[in-house]
């Protein structure tokens, strides 16, 4: 077992000290940084499994026409074409998922460059997706959660075709 990874593999329950270490209050780098509006961090709770949490992150990004790139437990989020009007094209926005218990994750959203508005909209979008009970979301991938597991494979075909359709269901 790789002791360096913060995400437990065999057990779904995080170690209490790993959880505590995530607290921003323990980060002394604030001593060395000027107040920098460029750097923003938010933590959101997710009462979902780790894979469902990733799906919701992807959905939140899709809702805002942002493109994503997944690296292990971190998703890098880039502005899509609709944000090309920014004079500063460099944007550094990421969402990291840490599993705390079998159906509980913490998502840390971090922005170190780029537009504040994109960051805020993304946080808002993800936050509402994470707190939704049933998944009548605007993006089809969550529609799979409404149907029972036996229909999941059929729904995934709908995802490909119907991702832009807010009603979610396309007849196949």
């Amino acid at each position: 077992m790789d002791a360096e990874r913060t995400v437990p593999t065999s057990s779904n329950f995080i170690n209490a000290f790993q959880l505590i270490a995530m607290n921003n209050d323990l980060d002394l780098s604030g001593l060395f940084e000027e107040e920098d509006d460029n750097i923003q961090k938010t933590k959101l709770g997710s009462k979902n499994t780790i894979s469902d949490t990733f799906k919701k992150i992807e959905a939140a990004a899709n809702d805002l026409s942002l493109s994503i790139q997944r690296q292990n437990n971190k998703i890098k989020i880039h502005p899509g074409r609709s944000f090309a009007r920014c004079s500063r094209s460099h944007s550094n926005l990421s969402a990291e998922v840490i599993e705390v218990a079998p159906a509980h994750c913490v998502v840390e959203i971090c922005k170190s460059a780029g537009e504040l508005s994109v960051y805020k909209e993304f946080c808002k979008s993800l936050s509402s997706l994470l707190t939704e009970k049933s998944s009548i979301a605007s993006v089809a991938p969550d529609a799979a959660d409404l149907s029972d597991e036996s229909q999941e494979t059929a729904s995934s075909e709908e995802e490909v075709n119907g991702s832009k359709d807010p009603r979610g269901y396309s007849s196949s």
Binding site: A3, E4, R5, T6, S11, F13, I14, N15, A16, F17, Q18, L19, I20, A21, M22, N23, N24, D25, L26, D27, L28, S29, G30, L31, F32, E33, E34, E35, K43, L44, G45, V100, A101, H104, V106
Partner: protein
């Protein structure tokens, strides 16, 4: 101390000779001098008395974002090495030294143990760990059922509390961290490896050049 240091420094309480501090820590003389610039800035932010009090410490760490909180209190207490209610320059450098990438593991272990031993009993007790976990969950606006928190604590203590007395002692902590080295990651600040280039530029002034070599 040496008469070639500017008088301004002599006015600072607890100002220690950079050469001495450098010899006791992983910092070079010029890095200690750079830390002094940072120290001056923090110690004068609220009360210009040459010492860092609790409010100034919190302000420096959290800017305006946080009020009194669990870890800020404990960190202040640990940085206040002489336990006189304020952090002097020597305390500041010696405490930051613990976070230097080259600082000995032992120092990091000791600091982290003392950090988590919130009430200073010499043991990290279950209720303290619970308190710290809850603090993190509040920060994430996350509601975990008490039952789930208890399971996390159970698992942690099964791993760490070898004599099953409900608390983690110093030996158990050393052993636990040896098996989970990533737990000490918070005890290292990569910034410290090259302070002279990483400190915010507004802190630097020509005084560094004025100092005798």
């Amino acid at each position: 101390m040496g008469c070639f240091f500017s008088t301004q420094k002599k006015e600072f309480l607890g100002y220690d000779d950079p050469v001495t501090l450098a010899s006791e820590t992983a910092f070079s003389v010029s890095e200690v001098e750079a830390l002094f610039e940072l120290y001056k800035s923090i110690s004068s932010s609220l009360i210009d008395d040459g010492l860092i009090n609790k409010e100034e410490f919190q302000l420096a760490l959290f800017k305006n974002r946080k009020k009194d909180n669990l870890f800020a209190n404990r960190l202040f207490y640990l940085f206040d090495v002489k336990k006189k209610g304020a952090i002097d320059f020597g305390d500041f450098v010696r405490s930051l030294n613990v976070f230097h990438p080259n600082a000995p593991q032992e120092k990091k272990l000791e600091f982290s143990f003392n950090l988590y031993d919130l009430d200073g009993t010499g043991f990290i007790e279950r209720h303290e760990v619970k308190q710290m976990v809850i603090a993190l969950l509040c920060e994430s606006d996350m509601n975990l059922a008490d039952e789930t928190i208890e399971i996390i604590l159970d698992k942690t203590f099964t791993d760490a509390d070898m004599d099953r007395d409900g608390k983690i002692d110093w030996m158990e902590w050393q052993n636990f961290v040896a098996r989970n080295p990533s737990l000490l990651k918070i005890m290292t600040l990569p910034y410290l490896r090259d302070i002279t280039t990483t400190l915010p530029s507004f802190i630097f002034n020509s005084e560094v050049d004025d100092m005798a070599a």
